[in-house]
């Protein structure tokens, strides 16, 4: 086959992507701000910006921080959805600011941006991630094996590898856990992210500590608190089928018992 005519074959999508004249539009970002050094009240602040709709919400936040108000505070690093720094609630839903294009969330209306829910707000969009990581650490998220180490690699069939592929994608962004109504209630629930990371090892054919992890998640604040609300699955920026993973852990617990 030849793609010698590649340039004449342009799809509309490619043409659109390549169009260079930026159609700037005015968007309003309505940011929920909280700075304990100024006030103990959080407040909504509107920012009007000239943006290209193909830009990300993160770009808009940067524009505010760099050009309008340097005190606006948020976490970010990679800017393309792999480091998990910038989970926040955009238009009422958890997303990564760097993976959300303005054009995809109706820039005609004010775009609300607020911190993720259920964790202490430290400043503006920055929340205390410690409880989140604590839950993660509590599920023993590391490979545990018995006996002597082999000299070469442990063998694992492609099917066995595939079994837990989905849950290896997690970037610990907390979009799922902080979208879970059960987690908001009392923050004691392990939360979907911790379960996802337990799942990653429970179903790894090389691991030998599934029992212990299952036991941890069998407890009062473990998997049984999940009410299958699917907010986690909808929120996950990595497209992990979070609820499905949780259900698999529940079923593993039941089959273990009976």
């Amino acid at each position: 086959m030849s793609t010698a005519t590649v340039d004449n074959n342009h799809s509309a999508a490619l043409d659109a992507a390549e169009s260079t004249d930026a159609h700037l539009i005015t968007v309003t970002l309505r940011v929920r701000r909280y700075n304990p050094e100024v006030s103990d009240q959080a407040s909504w602040v509107d920012y009007k910006l000239e943006m290209d709709p193909k830009e990300r919400v993160l770009d808009a936040l940067h524009k505010i921080k760099w050009e309008i108000d340097g005190t606006l505070t948020f976490r970010r690093s990679c800017a393309h959805g792999i480091c998990g720094s910038d989970a926040m609630r955009i238009n009422g839903r958890n997303r990564l600011a760097c993976k959300t294009l303005l054009k995809d969330i109706n820039p005609e209306k004010p775009i609300t941006v607020e911190p993720i829910k259920g964790l202490a707000v430290l400043k503006d969009l920055v929340v205390d991630m410690e409880p989140f990581f604590q839950a993660y650490r509590d599920v023993m998220p590391f490979l545990i094996t018995k006996g002597n180490e082999p000299t070469r690699e442990r063998l694992q069939s492609s099917e066995d590898r595939e079994r837990f592929d989905d849950t290896t994608k997690c970037i610990l962004c907390a979009a799922c856990t902080s979208s879970c109504p059960v987690f908001w209630n009392d923050g004691q629930y392990f939360g979907p992210a911790a379960i996802v990371n337990a799942h990653r090892f429970i179903f790894d054919s090389r691991d030998e500590a599934a029992e212990q992890r299952l036991e941890i998640l069998n407890d009062r604040d473990g998997v049984w608190r999940c009410r299958t609300t699917f907010n986690c699955t909808d929120a996950c920026p990595r497209g992990i089928e979070v609820t499905k993973a949780i259900q698999e852990v529940k079923r593993a617990l039941i089959t273990r018992r009976f």
Binding site: G92, R93, P115, T229, K244
Partner: protein, 126 residues
């Protein structure tokens, strides 16, 4: 402290809210229902008196609401069970929810006359 916005969850979240609300509602109804039924043990007259109030159009309408709640809770409960035990359940949860809503509407339409016939007769004669 002005709260943040309401979380804009999707089908899964709202169906759970509805499931929870209906569940709690039914529980309280059941509680009352057992108490009133207990009257059969005490005095048939009193029992009939209480039951008579059920035949009042307003309470009859509430009863229709109760049926709605139970039906939704039951159907959605089955959906939740499917999500739990059927490996493809999580994938099709949304479709299942819309099916639940569809069936629920059909059944509620079907139950409209039978449940409310008493009131309808009172109100509009027959």
């Amino acid at each position: 402290m002005p709260a943040g916005t309401l979380y804009r969850g999707r089908e899964g979240m709202w169906s759970w809210v509805a499931h929870r609300v209906t569940g709690v509602l039914i529980f309280f109804f059941l509680f009352v229902h057992v108490l009133d039924t207990a009257l059969v043990r005490v005095s048939p007259q009193d029992y009939d008196k209480v039951v008579a109030t059920y035949k009042n159009p307003v309470v009859n309408l509430l009863e229709y609401g109760l049926v709605a709640a139970i039906l939704f809770h039951a159907l959605n409960g089955l959906r939740v069970i499917a999500v739990d035990f059927w490996s493809k359940g999580p994938k099709y949860q949304r479709q299942m929810l819309w099916s639940v809503v569809g069936i629920w509407i059909v059944l509620m339409a079907g139950a409209f006359y039978p449940v409310l016939q008493h009131s309808l007769r009172i109100l509009f004669g027959s």
